[in-house]
Amino acid sequence: MRILDLAYILALGAGLGLGTAHWAVAGRPALGKIEVGAWAAWPRSGGRDVDPYMRAYLARGVHLPLGSGEGLELIAEHDDDGQALDGRCRYRLSGATPPARSWTIGITDGEGLPFRLPLERRSFTDSEIVRPEDGRMLIVAAATPEAGNWLPLPVSGRFQIRLRLYDTPISTQTGETRAANLPRIARLDCR
């Protein structure tokens, strides 16, 4: 009976321990995540004090995160109403961007890779967009062509919007940033 007990303890310990460790770092870990509106960021991923879960996640693939003093990456997987981003819908990205020397905004799949679309427009930089009179940002993300700043989406399926701010003071105080200081993601309509 004792051997059975020992085998049970070892199987439970190894199975559950390895299983939960794999699950915890298979994607970006929940620990260290800061959410502002629809955007999520992991500001400590680019510093010396990176937490063990983020460190393990980064070590499992070829990652080179932005350094804390270099910039900040924000990822949106859902719109302002909390609905998952879907290629069948049209989205309006508007509003302000935090103070930064430069920024880029792009569409990627869940792994952070750009989609292979017929049109070579995967992202915009702050120098590329056409701005209205008030100087604010206005981009429409849709699978079909749009007037103005248009970011093509895949015809269907989930996607992410990645906003990268370069040389920004908010990388050290991301948690104190208000949602109003980041671009809003509004769903316009769906097919």
């Binding site: 321990g17 770092v25 930089t125």
Partner: protein, 209 residues
């Protein structure tokens, strides 16, 4: 009469006896499960801490051969002839060049000339973690320069410094002997690619005497 009683008891043990056995079995199952859960917690923590040290698929291993000729080399695109894996979660508007460093032969001097495009330099130690980040805003007369060294090499340099004089060089301590120096240049417009690549690959990283 007594013998008859004894026989009846052997065939049908009292309910109290079964209850005690059931309780003992349950206690044993709870104890072994608790022990299993405690072991699982230990295995979980040890695995998470061991992954960065044991991983052979991280950027420091994948790009170990890049930029060993004294200047940064561009991260090759997916499907390159060297068979290097592509950089994950990379910004398509950024040109990335890498200098792999090994401090066993001495400190490494990094010199970057700045240009019109935003340039960022970061130091990624082996096993994860950015140990230093600087942008071209910190450049003095359009040059960014710093020395990467181990703690022991820094102590040696401090000992060799002239008494009473302040050293003007920027010293960055790396807690691992190997790592990557990453130069990122943002292309504001697609036509900036050639300038961005020249700026990124122009980052010099040589072993300092």
């Amino acid at each position: 009469m007594n013998a008859l009683d004894h026989g009846t008891m052997a065939a049908h043990p009292p309910a109290g006896h079964w209850r005690a056995r059931l309780r003992a079995g349950l206690a044993r199952a709870i104890m072994t499960t608790l022990a299993g859960l405690m072991l699982a917690a230990i295995v979980h923590i040890v695995t998470i801490l061991a992954v960065p040290a044991l991983s052979q698929r991280d950027a420091a291993h994948a790009y170990r051969e890049l930029g060993t000729e004294g200047h940064a080399a561009l991260v090759p695109p997916p499907g390159n002839p060297q068979g290097l894996p592509p950089l994950r979660e990379a910004d398509p508007d950024v040109v990335t060049a890498i200098c792999s460093y090994d401090l066993s032969a001495g400190p490494v001097r990094v010199v970057a000339r700045t240009g019109a495009l935003p340039l960022g330099l970061t130091l990624h130690r082996q096993g994860g973690g950015v140990i230093y980040a600087i942008t071209d805003r910190a450049a003095i007369r359009d040059v960014l320069e710093f020395l990467v060294m181990t703690e022991a090499q820094r102590d040696e340099r401090i000992a060799a410094d002239e008494e009473g004089e302040t050293s003007r060089e920027l010293r960055v301590v790396s807690d691992t002997e190997q790592g990557l120096i990453v130069a990122r240049v943002l292309m504001r417009l697609p036509s900036d690619r050639a300038d961005a690549e020249a700026l990124a690959t122009g980052v010099a990283c040589e072993t300092a005497g």
